[in-house]
Symmetry: C2
Subunit: 280 residues, 2 copies
Amino acid sequence: MASSPSPPPCPEITRNGNSDDDSKEEGLLMIDLERVRKSLIRQEDSIAFSLIERAKFPSNSSLYKSLQIPGFHGSLIQYIVKETEILHSKVGRYESPEEHAFFPDGLPLPLIPCPPKSPEFLHGAASSININSTIWKFYLEELLPLFTKQGDDAISYACTAVCDLNCLQALSRRIHYGKFVAEVKFRDAPEEYGPAIRAQDRDALMKLLTFEDVEEIVKKRVEKKAMIFSQEVNLNEKDDGDKQQNCKIDPSVLSRLYGEWVMPLTKLVQVEYLLRRLDK
Amino acid sequence: MASSPSPPPCPEITRNGNSDDDSKEEGLLMIDLERVRKSLIRQEDSIAFSLIERAKFPSNSSLYKSLQIPGFHGSLIQYIVKETEILHSKVGRYESPEEHAFFPDGLPLPLIPCPPKSPEFLHGAASSININSTIWKFYLEELLPLFTKQGDDAISYACTAVCDLNCLQALSRRIHYGKFVAEVKFRDAPEEYGPAIRAQDRDALMKLLTFEDVEEIVKKRVEKKAMIFSQEVNLNEKDDGDKQQNCKIDPSVLSRLYGEWVMPLTKLVQVEYLLRRLDK
């Protein structure tokens, strides 16, 4: 099942069916599969980079506590993320189906003309799926303490918050990419997903989307990426064997992030999407 | 000259003098030297990451052309950077002597109480040195075409601009870090810099700050970092030997970036700072 050909496997992009007809529809599908697969793998790098960058700063927990900001109730991180999203909305960020706001209510319309949307690839129900509140919670409460050192430097709050936002956006993009994954899979084997969708059977859909052996490979790959990208690079070639030492983040955090949150939440997005995939 | 001990060398942190007295002042200085050296090396990683992330998107040149935005004259990148800096200023980003705005005029004061500044490490003249207009120009006009593919995806302008901003801020932080480098060097050997400063002799200062052999080492190191961080990571160990293949950015771009812009401009900042170092 996990025996994908040469490219590294992705849990979501393992074919269920074995249809290998060469119709035009199949040709188009292959392009999508390849694009989705490449994007998922590339996004692993972005997530690793963003965590390594955040690890430059201590926990700076004052950022996450409510404070007095004129005209705003909440924490500094909430303020920065919300205000950044307002700005990004003005320049059309959320016109892309790959982007999801953490504070989507009342975002302004783009100030600039945005390109006419190409024919929608996703089903219309996609726009109603946003699990960023879950991502926000696990990132701040569970993930952050795993890879930042306790401490408060009192001067880097803005830069720390920008790193948090980069992490949050990278995770949000990756997890919500489940919509594209689900659409590609559905098009690949509608006969396989149809009955579970019509029965609104979450468990059956989750089973269809789960490939434990492939998930293990992904966890190993992201751990290796964290080790490679967070190593101390030295011109002395001999030092390269000792990558595990002096890593800027513990590589196992990436494996755990994918195993406990990224892959389960991507599957949740896929299930939510598929449940509505046949809605008129 | 370049024979620093075990740590990888930095062009700016090669001692000119050979004073090895163990006074308290010298002890303090060693802490600073180590901190500055580590920061410079760590910032190489941030710069490499930010360029690799920007390379995900095509050139998207529409971002850099003047357009109609209500209440604003300029390009979309100018709008996004300026508005982001206004937000970051409100949360105290520019209270840190390591941060410099690209549009510093009229930035708002922080909305939150910022920590009382610790005794200034830098001379007061530091705050008047900001060469971001030069950084902006070389980044957009010369660097960007070296590592992005020609093209316009029409939908990722906001995300592309965020990547540009991350690159610009990482470069700005690294280049203006020359202030700290210069201060550490001056404290290390005031008798060496004093005459050139009093004579306001730029050329003599530039000569004191230039170590060509060490600069070559830095260029090699950042090229190696670009290769390692932008490689396709595969679980198959055998593939690792072929890192140069499939790099997401051409590693030589990093070497060129450091050789043509980062190190010369850091030295320019150092000269500007030292010229004012003895001002009352």
